[in-house]
């Protein structure tokens, strides 16, 4: 087991996927691309395993799984029971002192860095392989004690019923969970949203779509409200703007998040101004060029900082979209050209 099990994002690249999980590796890659991501660090899969071994939780789970394995197949009731049992085992364990100290050391450093004692953080799971039902996220976590509790809870989320069912279906080991954890400074979101560097419905690669709302990005991602929409031509910058009436937004509460009413004067006001929109599109184009693939990205503007330092990126991944037939045709023609070079 490696000694080092916590990494700053700038120490990570996409090739560290297996070590820290996809989300963390991706954030590391984004830092190296010059994208501003929320300050924070990653807890590696090793960190999780160290916890499981030193506390004995791993042993208890293995024994339980060994005993119940056959009965678990295709038995939802048993799977729910297993999930409850395993998660309670994990959550009943204290984090070993040396691990606590290491975690707190990084948290303190983060507080110093952002000049904010007990800085509120988001704690997100970061699986090395995509697995449904393993997406536990705790927002607005403040202070060392809560940090430890929530990290352990994220680890436990590797054993939700859905995650157990998935592993059974795919013949994966039940007692192993390659799970990393991302600890990120909470952004005091003025507005947030998503950007796609392709029109998802037609596959038009000449356009970038930006959708946003006031407050946290969750309202846009979940599709609960109709956000403002900006379709920007990548070449000319010509923009098609649709401003919608935004009545609700997602904000923090003391612990976690809640839905709040958007103040009347903001409801029909664009959530982005011209220069903010341009900055988003500029960076999105760069990132797309780097990966050579249309991107699906999440951004947030911090109300505590000034433009352009207030633009943070929390996600970029290959966009899913309907490929435009002409583009696909040209791609095939290009591939055919290559066979003459072999």
């Amino acid at each position: 087991m490696a000694d080092k099990w916590i990494f700053w994002f700038n120490e990570l690249r996409s090739e560290h996927n297996d070590m820290v999980g996809k989300k963390c590796a991706n954030l590391g890659e984004m830092v190296h691309l010059g994208m501003r991501v929320p300050p924070g660090f990653a807890i590696s899969v090793d960190g999780y395993e160290r916890f499981m071994e030193t506390t004995g939780a791993g042993e208890e789970i293995r024994a339980y799984v060994l005993k119940n394995k056959e009965g678990l197949k295709n038995a939802v009731g048993k799977q729910i029971e297993a999930s409850r049992f395993i998660r309670s085992v994990i959550q009943s364990k204290e984090m070993p002192d040396d691990m606590k100290l290491e975690l707190w050391k990084h948290y303190e450093k983060l507080c110093e860095q952002v000049v904010c004692p007990n800085v509120p953080v988001a704690i997100r799971s970061s699986g090395a392989i995509s697995m449904p039902g393993q997406m536990e996220t705790y927002l607005n976590v403040c202070g060392k004690k809560d940090l430890v509790t929530k990290v352990i809870q994220v680890w436990g989320s590797a054993f939700t019923t859905r995650a157990i069912a998935f592993r059974l279906e795919n013949n994966m080991e039940l007692d192993k969970a390659p799970i990393g954890v991302a600890v990120l400074k909470m952004i005091n979101a003025k507005c947030a949203g998503v950007t796609l560097t392709v029109l998802p419905t037609t596959g038009d690669l000449s356009k970038t779509v930006v959708e946003g709302n006031w407050g946290l990005g969750e309202s846009v991602v979940s599709g609960e409200i109709t956000p403002d929409s900006f379709i920007v031509d990548k070449e000319s910058g010509k923009t098609e703007t649709t401003i919608n009436k935004k009545t609700k937004m997602v904000v923090y509460k003391a612990s976690g998040i809640r839905i709040a009413k958007v103040p009347a004067e903001l409801q029909e006001k664009p959530c982005l101004n011209k220069e903010e929109l341009e900055e988003i599109v500029r960076i999105a184009k760069d990132v797309e060029a780097h990966f050579d693939m249309p991107q699906d990205m999440e951004w947030v503007f911090d109300s505590d900082l000034t433009f352009p330092e207030n633009l943070y990126w929390v996600q970029t991944r290959p966009a899913k979209y309907t490929q435009k037939k002409e583009k696909q045709d040209e791609y095939l023609a290009e591939l055919m050209t290559r066979i003459f070079k072999m």
């Binding site: 023609a333 050209t337 066979i339």
Partner: protein, 559 residues
């Protein structure tokens, strides 16, 4: 008086031609046995033209088509390689655009060409040969020459484009799903489609069903194929059957038993080969159902498609599936083009030439109508309008004597410059990246696996395992020797062999690649085909018991 070369300007000349290229390969698929002079003239001139036309229209980056020479009834070919890197780049730029029509609308492209060429045939057939004037007959012949020229343009443009897509699909299957064109799963992916050749086959099978219903089975089973037609004519039901059968021949019988020659009757002239196919279906008995057999292959394809698509990453699925659909059309094209292009055009050549042949016989220019196949178009023109003024028998006599000589000694498989060996020559073929050379001529080299203790090693042309009596068939004339349940052993096969695939259990061919005839038809009939065994026809004797395992590419001689 001087008798001209058979193909003036394109006769093989070792002194000059080895300077151009050190290796010339015999086209064994098409020019064994040696061609008649007239057919050789058409093939060498226009197949050569078509390949260079197709390669140029598509601007293939590495190859400019093939050059051809004529020698003793054999066609010899060599590749025209693009020489400089700069030129390759320029051609590559153009190729990217030129290939798009195949990707955008393959069916529209191929369908358009079928329409164009069928219109030409209809126009040629519209002339009533026995009533036409000499001028009209000569015009018809000139138009046939142009039709043949155009046919080869379409043929090679389509073939180059189609096979390029097929090769890409093969590469992508290897890269994304880990299977290549010698794998059974791959073959299932490209089988089970309907095409014109199978439609003709199905019509023949349907006629066999009708014979059963109308009590005509005995007429077929108790007569030699050549006598079936006469025997049918003795009953009323038989006459009605024969009338419908001849209508079908007039539609789809514009083909000869040998694809690349014109000296055999077409099915329209003599339906014996077609009636013989009906007889073979009847001999299989009532249980045989062609549609059912073909349906099974289609089902297997759908399962294979799912298996492969599941392995392809989500974001690559879109174009991969499009490419797969395109590659699947390669097999359809490979079979169908024989029907619409080669076979039909050659039947038109025969028809038009015989129209003049009859007239020449009448005027004493030649002795026999088929003697016209020993003349070349310039000589036909000499006597075309006033045949009574010319006696061309001395040309026919000498050419025929030569042709008979050609039949006695086989042409060498390759003409190689001194110091140049076959391996080097094959190397050049592979280097060219020429899609046709790779997929039809060369093929994958078999892997010899001593642990399997096989007698012959080849590659998989169509998956499966079978055991049966070997039947070694060297020419079309011997096809009637094939019996139900045999394992066919041949140097190569051609489209006129297609109907026997419904009788046999497996195929072993000396040479072939995944788009050669035996492989495509074997896949459609769901029988195993082992290819590129090189010495099958030498090592195996008719009557021996053999086992083929196409999945492993092995052949076992059990006697």
């Amino acid at each position: 008086m001087k008798i001209y070369d058979v193909v003036p300007g394109l006769e093989f000349d070792p002194e000059r031609d080895f300077e151009q290229s050190p290796a010339w390969f015999l086209d064994g698929t098409h020019s064994i046995p040696p061609w008649t002079p007239m057919f050789g003239w058409f093939w060498i001139n226009f197949c050569r033209h078509g390949m260079q036309y197709g390669a140029e229209k598509l601007s293939l980056p590495t190859v400019k088509g093939w050059d051809w020479r004529f020698m003793k009834g054999g066609g010899y070919l060599t590749l025209l390689l693009v020489k400089s890197q700069e030129e390759k780049q320029r051609r590559e730029e153009r190729f990217r655009k030129a290939i798009l029509p195949f990707i955008e609308d393959y069916e529209g492209l191929w369908g358009g060409f079928i329409k164009e060429i069928l219109e030409r045939y209809e126009h040629l057939k519209a002339l009533k040969l026995d009533e036409a004037t000499n001028i009209e007959l000569l015009d018809n012949f000139e138009e046939t020459i142009n039709t043949c020229r155009r046919m080869w343009e379409i043929h090679m443009y389509m073939m180059y484009g189609t096979y390029t897509a097929y090769i890409l699909f093969e590469n992508m299957c290897r890269e994304l799903a880990g299977i290549d064109d010698t794998s059974p799963t791959f073959h299932r992916l490209v089988s089970g489609f309907d095409n014109k050749v199978f439609q003709v086959d199905r019509r023949l099978w349907q006629f066999s069903k009708r014979a059963e219903e109308e009590g005509l089975v005995d007429v077929f089973l108790q007569n030699e194929p050549a006598n079936i037609s006469a025997a049918l004519a003795t009953s009323e039901k038989g006459q009605a059957f024969l009338k419908d059968f001849m209508d079908f021949m007039n539609e789809d019988g514009w083909r000869m038993q040998r694809m690349s020659e014109i000296n055999l009757p077409t099915w329209v002239e003599d339906p014996t080969p077609a009636l013989s196919n009906v007889k073979q279906f009847l001999m299989k008995g009532g249980g045989f159902n062609l549609d059912e057999e073909r349906g099974k292959v289609a089902k297997e394809r759908e399962a294979a498609e799912k298996e492969v698509l599941d392995k392809v990453p989500q974001e690559q699925k879109g174009w991969f599936e499009q490419l797969m659909r395109l590659a699947q059309k390669s097999g359809i094209f490979s079979e169908e083009h024989d029907h619409y292009l080669d076979l039909y055009t050659h039947a038109m050549m025969r028809r038009s030439a015989l129209g003049l042949g009859d007239r020449f016989v009448k005027e004493g220019t030649i002795d026999d109508r088929e003697d016209i196949f020993f003349l070349i178009p310039d000589e036909v023109r000499r006597a075309g309008i006033n045949p009574d003024q010319f006696d061309l028998r001395y040309i026919v006599e000498r050419r025929k004597a030569e042709w008979e000589e050609w039949q006695k000694t086989p042409n060498p498989p390759a003409m190689l410059k001194e110091g140049f060996d076959m391996d080097q020559a094959m190397g050049v073929l592979v280097q060219s990246n020429d899609p046709i050379a790779l997929k039809v001529v060369v093929g994958a080299m078999p892997e010899v696996r001593p642990e399997l203790k096989a007698d012959l090693y080849g590659t998989c042309g169509s998956p499966g395992v079978a055991e049966g009596t070997a039947r070694v068939i060297m020419t079309e004339d011997e096809l009637h020797l094939v019996e139900e349940g045999d394992i066919l052993v041949a140097a190569t096969t051609s489209p006129s062999w297609t109907p026997i695939f419904s009788m046999i259990k497996g195929v072993i061919v000396d040479r072939g690649a995944s788009l050669s005839h035996a492989a495509i038809v074997g896949r459609e009939y769901g029988i195993p085909v082992v290819m590129n065994v090189f010495e099958g026809t030498q090592k195996i004797k008719s009557g021996q018991r053999v086992k083929v395992d196409a999945n492993l590419g092995t052949v076992y001689i059990q006697d």
